[in-house]
Symmetry: C2
Amino acid sequence: MTLTADLPRYKEVKAEILARIQKRIWRTGEVLPSEHELADEFDCARGTVNRAMRELSDDGVIERKRRAGTIVAQSRVRHARLAIPLVRSEIEATGAKYRYRLITRAAIAAPAWLRARMELAEAARVLHLQCLHLANAQAFQFEDRWINLAVVPGAAKADFSVISPNEWLINAVPFTDAEFAFHASRADKDVARMLQVADGDAVLVAERITWLERKPVTYARMSFPSSYRMVTRV
Amino acid sequence: MTLTADLPRYKEVKAEILARIQKRIWRTGEVLPSEHELADEFDCARGTVNRAMRELSDDGVIERKRRAGTIVAQSRVRHARLAIPLVRSEIEATGAKYRYRLITRAAIAAPAWLRARMELAEAARVLHLQCLHLANAQAFQFEDRWINLAVVPGAAKADFSVISPNEWLINAVPFTDAEFAFHASRADKDVARMLQVADGDAVLVAERITWLERKPVTYARMSFPSSYRMVTRV
DNA sequence: CAGTGGTCTAGACCACACA
DNA sequence: GTGTGGTCTAGACCACTGC
């Protein structure tokens, strides 16, 4: 064991295992010693080794299978934690003043593309909202939001001119699953005007679909100007 | 405790705690019962409750402090796991054939913007590489790579026409920290030509800086055509 | 000071997959 | 079968922090 600071034991073990993998003492695809053996070597309980290895497995560094043992991950897929804050928190964290504006609001029959995307029934009705989140006077995010009224009927009566759909939904509806996707796109005329950027400029688009027990709750498309950075640390 | 499937106990506990938060039985900012009390209620060991709450804390659902106890998170920041695969794996996973092409290669003095970005010394020398990753014959990712020769001298002699810098680095250098950032941008002439898209088209740019024990190893800027989706599930 | 969560221990039983 | 990791237990000590 290398000399380490005053870290918790399981972090020391984790660091040591990682170091051996990085030094190629244990090579890609190779089987690591069992938890039992490592617990003996590091002179600690198996539970401690188990926690270290579980975290490494979560990080994508190793792969574990019962009976087969633990191997150094082949795929070299690393996992990063991406923090997804509320827009308001994100803006206020920079010290800027958060402002919000509702642009449009309409309860309509769900268009075909949305029915496909959210797996909605033919006759589904949705609430369509467009709104803008500003940092000081600067456009920060344009939000194009669709809410499934079958799952969230209360949305029809909510006053989205004072609270953003984002925050209203968080307080009104729990959700069980969510899917995020990011891509780059060119701003169409509406988005460009809203974000105060040139027509056709690049925007970062984050799409999010949320379910409550398999039932689709909401679909949101959030557009950011090209100056926006989404950052994560591994 | 709700009736649940044959899940591990800690997952049942986790689900029940989450359910109570979502049902507003425990409200935002409110202090939850202590691990001890919950262990009594759920009739399990404190370690089991601890694991459930630790995971909820990792997910950003609750916040824990010694002595102060556990509260339902205020910020509503949710955390998603973003898997970052090797380009090759990502392409091959779709069934497409992976191909790689080195475009340019030059060992030069680090330009000022890069020195600032990577925190390099004035006289630092770097290896600059540009390369293309293709899925079948289709351009998938354009990689603009800078390697710090002070930390990785071996890179000067590596043959990057047969192996991508990405894969070479993974096999040659361990790293301890990495930072990712995403943004949208418009393709300049070079990038557009490489990605076979129109000049000025939107591209998704992923930047990555990697360190080995505080020493900057490499900076990479990876550009994807606007058809590319980066997906994550919460 | 007292109570919280953070960590650790030395056991234990079990599901699973391989021989 | 047999050995692996997955989980769980009933304790324990400790660091931190609010009182």
